[in-house]
């Protein structure tokens, strides 16, 4: 078990992202272990989202965005992967604002399995139910699976987005400030789900709720102004006198 946990899922070496010459993040070095929840906290504009986009190679769709450095996913450099689609299908991403695709709730969750080539209705049914259940949405929508996903409430849509990310059966789940559009009760339910999912996948949790990182993350990194100031075991980051005074100020709410 110890051995299993210490395996490195994602290793970032000297990562830098810039937009048309303007640096968003630079000099990021960190490694994320398999089956951990890795929290990233930091104020707005710290480069958290740019970091996530680089992992997923979403820079391909933004000609303005340049990425330098190495990103090793399962030990392979993602920037050299030819099959970027396979990479993305292994990484589930949840954006800050929910994106319910303009199709039925069922199709929202069945789309990714269908893209993988699963055609059989019975199999899809099982996947849809499992993913919606895990995203704590099944009970609310099981009677109207064929209504439009985009008509759900904001919090429900966010859970639908999570269900859709899970339907990819990702090895790495990336959540970018998922709780912005979600009420506190639902947030707590999703947090419980994430704790369970940890046994099956690696999770990167970007959040601007410092306490959320404290509740969930095994280790937490503090980003500020495009730099990774500090990475530590979460409890250590929050309790001990951290090595950097900026981290302390941020987690204690003195700025940010």
């Amino acid at each position: 078990m110890v051995n299993e946990e210490s395996r490195i899922k994602l290793e970032i070496q000297n990562l830098a992202v810039s937009y048309g010459g303007q640096t968003a993040i630079s000099g990021i070095n960190l490694s994320i272990r398999e089956h951990e929840i890795f929290g990233i906290i930091g104020p707005a504009n710290a480069g958290k989202t740019s970091f996530l986009k680089a992992i997923n190679r979403m820079n391909m769709f933004d000609s303005n965005m340049q990425v330098e450095g190495d990103i090793l996913f399962n030990g392979q450099n993602v920037r050299k992967w030819r099959n970027v689609y396979a990479l993305r299908s292994r990484i589930g991403v949840v954006f800050p604002l929910p994106v319910g695709l303009p199709m039925s709730i069922y199709d929202n969750v069945a789309l990714s399995p269908q893209l993988r080539g699963i055609k059989e209705k019975a199999e899809l049914d099982i996947i849809v139910e499992r993913c919606l259940t895990r995203a704590a949405l099944w009970d609310e929508v099981k009677d109207r699976l064929h209504t439009l996903g985009s008509l759900l409430s904001g919090g429900q849509q966010q859970r639908l987005t999570i269900a859709r990310a899970l339907s990819q059966e990702p090895e790495l789940l990336v959540l970018d400030e998922f709780s912005i559009a979600v009420d506190p009760v639902t947030t707590m339910r999703i947090e419980d789900v994430l704790k369970e999912l940890k046994s099956e996948m690696t999770i990167i949790l970007v959040t601007n709720l410092v306490q959320q990182a404290r509740r969930l993350a095994d280790r937490t990194a503090f980003f500020l102004d495009g730099e990774c100031v500090e990475i530590a075991e979460t409890e250590a980051l929050f309790t001990r006198q951290t090595s950097d005074s900026r981290t302390r100020d941020y987690v204690e709410g003195r700025f940010g």
Binding site: F61, S63, R88, P102, L111, L115, L148, A165, Q168
Partner: protein
Amino acid sequence: MDNHMFAATELNQKNQRTEKLVRLLFIMMAALLILPVLVILGTLIYKGGSVISIDFLFTDPTNGMTEGGIFPALLGTIWLVAVALVISVPLGIAAAIYLSEYAPDNWFTRLINLAIINLAGVPSIVHALFGVGAFVVFFGFGTSILSASLTLAIMTLPVVIVSTRESLQAVPHSFREACWNMGATRWQTIRRVVLPNAVSGILTGVILEVSRTAGETAPIMFTGAVFFSPFLPQGIMDQTMAMSLHLFVVSTQVPGVPENLPYGVALVLIGMVLLMNSISIAFRMHLRGKKKW
């Protein structure tokens, strides 16, 4: 003092008067748009309504086109529009998908966009002469439905491209990103998410094209449409009569045509277009009721 808190000041009153005036002005301007439609339709129905009958639609013109029906012209217009659609719709939609979903922003894309804008600005008589040179003579299709429809297709291509591209762009970008993030290819994203939600807009463009194609005269009169033909077209290499040209002919070229005949022809032509438009509006409303984000 408190009493005066919500009382209108002189300035308030002045603003409100202006607001009412401006509003009235705009309503009147908008209402003016209805006028030409009503006058045209009213005149046509009043003067040409009497000639419309089943016989008029389904018999040949007789007696030097001064009597009889319009069947060959009606059928010819349907031929011309259908063949033009078969050519321009796949081409236009494919081009629009490329421009909207694939094309990087570079000189080549800008060149294509420039070409589309210019193509839309070319007068129809120039298209007609181009059609003669290219399709009738150079490709050797002769004066035929094929030549005429190709000319019409090229002329209406910009309409299809621009309206298709706009309806594709109207699908929010976040849907595409969500799909790409799942590992979908661009084509999978287009097929599953973008196209189904752009259909109603694309359809509108196609119908617009139909309306325009059905009414055009210049591009077909040298390339495939004839004043009078005793035969119905049997295939795309035949010449044909057409409604728009027939209207021109009975209005100005043939002596002794009863006054109500040209009005009747015009009424049928405009009726065809209005019918197509209503079908498309109904279909769009049906689609829109089903899909929404």
